[in-house]
């Protein structure tokens, strides 16, 4: 079993390791904990971590935003922002992004209707995450761990002594 704090921390590190910017990595950590805390599958997080980092292309119009390109980790926050800015409709470019984008909206309290690539507001309610131990499938955790490991710096004897400032023995 894992604590939600571990889930969030690992997903955040994984996103950075996969090459995504800090802010979106922070967001993905929150979404991972939200999905796990609601009992939903974290597979959308895993899928998003495996997408290459690429530029995003979105077009804005009155009350709507249309995605033309971009990975889910970057698109999710854009759609959440769009609804917070008053948009009531978004159109994705990639249907596989829908679960993660849906989680971004739900975590922000936005209930939604999906029709293919199009998401609109709904008057239903969204699930709240519960603080409890959770299980993350091993295949997901392995992907996250491998991505997170790309943020770690291998040790040298010099860095171990100097980097932590702990060259002295700690006996007294």
């Amino acid at each position: 079993m894992l604590a939600l704090n571990e889930v969030a921390g690992m997903a955040q590190k994984a996103a950075r390791g996969a090459g995504f910017p800090v802010g979106q990595a922070e967001d993905l950590g929150r979404i991972a904990a939200y999905l796990a805390g609601t009992g939903a599958s974290v597979a959308p997080v895993t899928a998003a971590l495996q997408e290459p980092v690429s530029n995003i292309d979105v077009r804005w119009s009155d009350g709507s935003v249309e995605v033309h390109a971009g990975p889910a980790v970057l698109i999710g926050p854009v759609i959440r922002d769009a609804f917070a800015m008053g948009c009531n409709r978004a159109v994705l470019a990639n249907i596989t992004h829908a679960p993660l984008v849906g989680a971004f909206l739900a975590e922000n309290g936005v209930a939604q209707n999906w029709d293919g690539l199009t998401v609109t507001l709904s008057d239903t309610t969204v699930l709240a995450a519960k603080c409890k131990p959770v299980t993350i499938p091993q295949q997901d955790w392995s992907v996250w761990s491998a991505c997170a490991a790309k943020t770690y710096v291998p040790e040298t004897e010099a860095s171990r002594l100097a980097g932590a400032g702990a060259g002295l023995t700690d006996n007294d």
């Binding site: 910017p21 802010g23 995003i56």
Partner: protein, 549 residues
Amino acid sequence: MKDIAPPAQMPLRPPSSVMRLRRMGAAFPTRLSFLRTLMRALAADDVKVTRPVWDMDAAGFGHAVYQLRFGGYDYALVAVSTDLPPELRTDRVIATAWDTAYVLYDGIPDQSEIDRIVASAPKQEAARFTARDLVLSRANKSVRLFDHVTDALKAGQQPDPQKIRDTGYLMRTTAVYGNGKFGIADRGHIADRPGMGGPFMAEMLTVWLIRGFTHDLAEHVGGGTLSSEAKRHLGIGNSTGLGMAPFLVNHPLLLDAWMSVRETAIARVRAIPSLDEKQIGRIYELVIRAAQYLAEWNVPDEIAAQRIDTLRRDWPEFAATLTPDAMTAQRPINRIITQSAQWSIDTQELIAALMLEPFGDLIDGLTDCMATPFVPELDPTMPCADLKALIEAEWGWACDVNYEAPAECSLFWYVSEEKLEPRLGNRHEEPGAELESPLDIGRQVKALAKDLDGDKTPVGQFLAMYPQHRAAARRVQSMARHPYAEIRDNLIGENCLPIDILRCKLAFFGAGKFDPKSDRWTRITLAQGAPLFDELDSADDWWLPVATI
């Protein structure tokens, strides 16, 4: 319901001064520190600590369980003491074994749970824990003092008071893990419970219980009883490294809550119109105590020793200004704090901490605001012009730095592959900078400012074009609402001393006797002078504890 007006207060000290590293690194514990808050809460709840299990051999190896009921919930500390071969008593970063290991348990553990913890706790990070485990910790003996104390007791004597004063603890924790680490419960699991809502309350409860265990263990091995005075002066040591620095940077709203509460408390006592005789007497008493504390605070680190010397020189000068006329003037504390600017930053901070001590009725309630369930949120509707204006108004300390200059980017923070610990490297001499952790907040905000046009485009649309600035934009917006949320210094510049960040956080814990071992780790003492298990009803007077033995 009647509205109750909040107490009067003077303006808060500005974040532009309070949030500089040098001043944060001069922080002292106050009555608002977490351990003090916990002790008051335990006393108010009439908590009784019992020790239902004591399974130790003559040499002090085995396990024990301590229990208490607090805020309507049962908690237990399971303490495991093992024989640590000298060759494993090694430098703390690569240590894999310790003299003692601990779990703060949620409830009363049955035998199978005790067995589980006795088997897993000594492995620390190498084991997995459950949501019934709230805190995981370990501690090593101060071998010299532990042996001296037990030898003295075996000889039917009390230990040498000077040796107790010199070290101040029998054991030193080297990690106190909470909030979901290694499978233990998330903080959210206990945050709503009475007494556990404040920051690090479970961790503070753990270290106070560990401290009591160290006394019991020494008495068991020595076969005698330590005097209460000796035990009271034996706190629990702690070695703290770089991990605390990223914590404060990564929890800006929590940092703001702690700082805002302390600064509001200072602003409240500054507004006190006049002091009565008892309050004046109390301040005099504390000034004398602080002088003794400074005299007893001896450290080998050169920079720290110089700063303590300066404190010792400033202190009599400061004391001499506390004349009867000064103390009976209008708003005396405001005058004292204003005039403290003539002394060193360390002296200023000690004076501010001291002035809070006599006024618990006025300020203790503020500690309810030191935890926050909130995290920074982005407001995508804000026009870019407003975001730019926020940067121009409050982020000069970040934007005025030339991060291309070697001295301003010489450090990089990273996580080590082997121990998954935060480390600090030299960008110009060591590999790995491309994997640096994002603690370069100032540099990030400067980069954001460069790309901001300052037009009416909503931030959300701007970030769709510049996704790399999302974290910086969120921090700028957060600081507008939480002015004490950011350390206002360049954390990758060559002048950054992580020890300053550590000391700030540790002072909020209630730590004293800071004993820096480098610019990036320090020893401290926690709970020195704190009430013993059977003294909770009589003691909230242990700010800057001085030896009574």
